[in-house]
Each structure stands twice: as C-alpha cells, then as structure tokens.
C-alpha cells in the first residue's frame, strides 16, 4: 500500500483538499439569529405558562400534584389549601424553577386539566436567578403574552395526542371563552 501509485501521488490528500474547496463555494448554513429567525417546530417545548380560564380569569390548576410528582428534575413546588367541608383543593402558590427544568414535557402530558403548558416561546432570559424562577403570577403573565401572539384556535401539540381527552380540555383557544367542567370538581363561581 505504501508504494502504490495512489499513495505516492497523494491521492487522499488531494481529495481532502478538493472537498474543502467544494464546500468553500457552497452557501453557508449559518442562520444569523438576531437578524433572521428560524421557524420553530410544532413540538417545540419553550417557556412555561399557566393556562387561565378566560371566563373566571383564574388559573386552571386544581392542585392535583400530578405534575409535581412526575417531574424528573423536581422543579415544581405547589402550595394548596383544602376546604374542610367540601374537601376541595384550592391552589395558593405554584412555583416552577425554569433553571432546573429539563423541558421533558411530562407535566404538560400528565395534567388532567391542561393547566401547565410549555409554549413555543423561546426568546426569554433573566438578569438574575429570581427572574427565571416562575411563580403563579409570572406563569399567568407568560400565558397572556403567549396568547396575544397565538393566532390558531387551540394550542395543541401535534405529536402526542392524549387518549380520551376531548378537544375542550386542550389549552384554551385564543380569545374565545371556553368553559371546562370536570366531574366532581367544582369550579369557583
């Protein structure tokens, strides 16, 4: 092999040089981000938001704690109070540490009322750690910002469809009111 003519004529070296020369005349694949933006894929998991019931204006969470249990990075902390007469749970605070979140989407998947969602909004940052630890107020704010930009009727993820969950239970449409009633849980009037 060492004395073969292809080796002595540097065939492999010249081939390598030609490959880089060919790439030199090709269009670069770089996207210059702040000047031009990429299309986000439909299954993209971005900033967290808490879906607000448009009728009552309150967060849709029922404090079932499923998201908190399923979360692999344990970034969700829920405070709630129980009504002693009816046994009804009432959400007091919902804290989500976006710094610890791994964006797996399990909370979104497991939520029975479609309350917590990962929106397609990816341009967010903070100047300190507190900016990226979302409490209930911030999560609601995130949802409002997202809804203002969203132009389709329902916010849904195409790539995983929950079995037996009606369209109504998907996160709310843009501006139309949609009342969700779940058996056994009484929504505050």
């Amino acid at each position: 092999m060492r004395l073969s003519p292809t080796y002595l004529l540097f065939k492999d070296l010249v081939t390598g040089l030609l490959i880089t020369l060919r790439t030199f005349f090709r269009k670069p694949v770089t996207v210059r981000y702040p000047h031009e933006k990429v299309q986000v894929f439909p299954s993209f998991r971005g900033r967290h938001a808490m879906v607000v019931d448009p009728e009552t204006g309150k967060p849709r969470c029922v404090a079932c704690l499923k998201c908190s249990v399923v979360c692999p990075s344990r970034c969700i902390k829920i405070e709630y109070e129980v009504d002693e007469k009816t046994g009804e749970r009432r959400l007091r605070e919902y804290i989500l540490e976006a710094l610890r979140c791994v964006y797996c989407g399990y909370c979104e998947e497991v939520c029975p009322v479609g309350a917590i969602v990962l929106t397609e909004w990816f341009e967010y940052s903070g100047r300190c750690r507190e900016d990226l630890i979302f409490n209930l107020e911030k999560l609601v704010q995130n949802w409002k910002e997202h809804v203002a930009k969203w132009d389709k009727e329902f916010y849904e993820n195409k790539y995983w469809v929950l079995k037996g969950v009606p369209l109504k239970l998907k996160p709310a449409p843009r501006r139309m009111g949609l009342v969700v009633k779940i058996k056994g849980v009484k929504v505050d009037g």
Binding site: T20, T23, F24, P28, V29, T30, R32
Partner: protein, 337 residues
Amino acid sequence: MVSNNLFLEILLILIKIAVVLGIVLLHAAYTVYAERKIIGRMQARLGPTEVGPYGLLQPIADLLKLLTKEDIIPLEAERLIFLVAPLIVLTFAIVNLSVIPFHPSFIIADVNIGILLILAGASLAVYGIILGGWSSGSKYSLLGGLRSAAQVLSYEIPLGMSLAGVILAAESFKLSDIVNHQAQSFFGMNAIPQILGFIVFLICAFAETNRAPFDLPEAESELVAGYVTEYSGFRMGMFFLAEYISIYVMSLLIVHCYFGGWTLPGWLLTIFPPLKFVPAPLILLIKVYFFVFLFIWVRATYPRYRFDQLMSMCWKILIPVSLLNFLIVAFLKRGGF
C-alpha cells in the same frame, strides 16, 4: 558631499523599511480576517460579519482589544525572559523580510547570503518560543516550547537540503540571482525539474511556521495553547503577528525559489503572448496570495499529526527525498539544463 550622500542613503533605506513594514503589517492583520473568513466558508459557515461591512473592521477591533488588555505576568514566571521572549520572535520574523526582493529594483539589503540569512533568522526565532515556554512556569508552556524546539530543529535540515538544490542550480545565495536564473532556464521555473524538492520545502514550510497540520507547539486539544498559554494582551499579539509575518516570508521564499518570483516562464509567454504586459509586482502578488491561501486551505482540511509521526516523517522520508532531489539537480546541471 560624502556625508550628504550617506544621509540620503540612510533616508532611502528608512523609507524602504517603512514601506515594507507598513504593507506587510497590513497584510498580516488582514490575513487573520481572511483566515477566519475562508476557514468559515470551508466549514459551511460565515466568518466574522458584524464589525463593519462584511466584518472588514474586525482586525482593527481585535487589535484594539489586544492593546487595551491587561499585561499579566504570572507569579511563577522568570520576569525578564518572560517579557523579552515575544520580542525575540517578532524581531527575527521581521528581520527576514529585509533580504527578500519585492521587485527587481526594490530590496532593502541585497546581501550575498540572502537565503542563509533567512534560515538563520528562522533558527534564532526558536529561542523566543522555547524561552517563552520555559519562563512562563507552566507545564503546558514548557511542553509546547520543547516540542517547538525539536520540531524546528529537525525540519530545518530538509528545508536547507531542498534549498541546496535551488542554490546549486542558480550558483548563488542571492534571491534576485535565483529568480533571474529561473527566468533564463529551460523550464522557466524551478518547480518542474525539482518537484521533489518543492514538495519537501512546502511541507517543511508548514512545520517551520508552526502551522496546521504541524501546529503541535500550540495544540489546543492537548496543551491549552502551548507556549502562549500564559501570555495575554499585546505580548500574545506579538506571537501571532510573528506567525503571520513568517507565513508571508515562507510564501515569498517559495515563490522566489521555485516559481520564478516576478517572472513568468518563457514557454508560457510563447503560448500566450499578451501575458507580457502583466506588471511584475502583480505576478508576484498573485503567486504569494495563492500560497497564503494554500496555508489557510491546508489548515481547514487536515487533522494534526502525532509527534512521533512528525519526527519519523522528517528523518525517514523528507531528508532522504531532499538528498535525492539534490542529486537529480546535480545530474541535470551536468547535462546542461
């Protein structure tokens, strides 16, 4: 009268030095930009784009950044040697420019032993690297310096041997004589009869300038940055400036010794007569630019050599091949070419 003439001569030399330094420093600064841009395009991405139109002001921004940075001297360092080492490298890189002709009538010092002076400058510049590496007081720097010393020492032998063929063909150490001899010779350029010597010289030029694929002294993935690890600010800038100037020196040397400098071979002129009207500096410039492009092109293409591969290639392949080239030139010379 005599003193007046002496004064004029000194003034003329100073003006020449200023012109050469200005042109070469500008070229060195924009070679950094060209390198980033070309390597970027060869890896299917854009180079610098933000500063100025097409990122053209990037070298100036880099220069300003380097000049205003703090000059850090490590606690473990040998202070005096640490401060002087980059200056040694830069000085001997610039000294090499003084014996290279840029035009038949434009040369700073037309000495009899031009080629040998360039080799001497290259061999003395190693001291800057090895002393800088040692005086930093860091393991990475010391290893980078030692590697560089071993590499440059070994590769100077085939470099000189391949140049010996050129010197034998032209019977002179002067670069201008070598260029003139090629213009009158049968093939028009040394690269055709001495193709072996040319290949050896090209490989050794990459090794002498510490460029990829022989950039072992500053291998980023093994030694952090080799001998420049502890340097910062404009002292690091001096090392880089010296590297880019030595790229130009090596390209000029290749063009002068193997591609006929500012002349075109006679057979090319008979095939295509209009080439006679191309000005001499333009021919030189195009040839030099091609070799600088080759330096960058090779850096974008090939992976780094291992150190034992580097050494065995030098001693087992390049030195015998350069000796063979020397013998071929001797026989051609006897045959009357």
